[in-house]
């Protein structure tokens, strides 16, 4: 079995209940994962001040979308900020737009973001540095099927081909 599926199964019994999220988009509207039923969803947790992991992953996701061609209409990328204190809606929109105008950011209160991160088993920790802080975080993209169930995890070591293969399984 491919490593991506094995890792997911270590969480529980395999594809089970659809996951839920209750956050807000950059227009302030409440969004839940149910809004995206019928599409394959790719979820990534990060923040705009992330020096390497986030820009590289978002760039990779934008490459995946390009490779999909017309099939990209079947996929929604969601970027959930782990830094709602500094990642304003305007900043999130400008940041994601550079990678792909179709990417959507979700944000919320610190508690709402914490709950979302627990749903996806994402760990994150603030590290103070100089006059600033970084957030060390799990860097994994989660693939949900059209019914909102978590099916694959793509860690930073995953190749472009892994995404395309796994997305095709969910189409």
């Amino acid at each position: 079995m491919p490593a991506a599926i094995l890792e997911f199964y270590s969480w529980g019994d395999g594809p089970s209940e659809p996951l839920e999220l209750h956050l807000r988009d950059w227009d302030g509207h409440e969004r839940s994962l149910a809004d995206f039923r019928g599409k394959v969803v790719m979820v990534y947790f990060g923040y705009t001040r992330c020096p390497e992991a986030c820009p590289l992953e978002l760039f990779r996701l934008s490459t995946v979308m390009k490779q999909l061609g017309a099939a990209r209409a079947r996929v929604q990328v969601l970027f959930i900020t782990l830094d709602p204190d500094r990642d304003t809606p305007k900043l999130l929109k400008a940041y994601l737009n550079v990678f792909d105008p179709g990417f959507l950011a979700l944000t919320g209160s610190a508690d709402e973001v914490a709950l979302a991160s627990r749903t996806f088993h994402v760990t994150y920790v603030r590290t103070p540095v100089a006059n600033d802080y970084f957030i060390d975080h799990t860097s994994v993209t989660y693939l949900l099927d059209k019914e909102g169930r978590l099916r694959f995890r793509e860690p930073s070591s995953a190749a472009l081909e892994d995404y395309l293969r796994d997305l095709n399984r969910l189409f």
Binding site: P51, E52, A94, Y95, V125, T127, V129, D132, S139
Partner: protein
């Protein structure tokens, strides 16, 4: 533009500097380079640039399945040795950027060594997804 920076008479040469473009509003950038030392052991004790308020060397490391970073205030440069600052390992963090780093441009970076002193290098800015000096 020269691909290496070398202060006259200095045993230290900086080669293959590069950085990634930053999205608008991103206050943090990363730069990478190689330090070649043909002389006695030295230590990198500071990094400066007019494009960022705080510049430090950091290193990526894994702890409990999490990728973490920590500052490296003193980076040893072995005698007749080589230190590689590359993606996923040691890198220069440019924090509180004063303006985004734009692909195709370049910016000055000064490395301060305990013995070799200050060495200025011009760092080219590659694309958003660049993984090496040529992009």
């Amino acid at each position: 533009m020269p691909l290496a920076a070398h202060a006259q008479g200095s045993p230290i040469t900086i080669t293959q500097p590069w950085s990634r473009a930053t999205p608008p509003g991103a206050a943090v950038g990363a730069a990478y380079l190689d330090i070649i030392n043909t002389g006695a052991a030295d230590t990198l004790v500071g990094v400066e640039s007019p494009v960022a308020a705080d510049v430090e060397v950091h290193v990526d490391y894994e702890e409990g399945g999490l990728m973490r970073m920590r500052p490296v205030p003193r980076l040893p440069v072995p005698a007749r040795g080589h230190v590689h600052l590359g993606s996923g390992g040691l890198h220069v963090m440019l924090m509180r950027l004063k303006q985004p780093l734009k692909e195709g441009e370049h910016f000055p970076l000064t490395l301060v060594f305990e013995h070799a002193g200050r060495i200025l290098v011009q760092v080219p800015v590659r694309g958003l997804g660049a993984m090496g000096p040529t992009g």
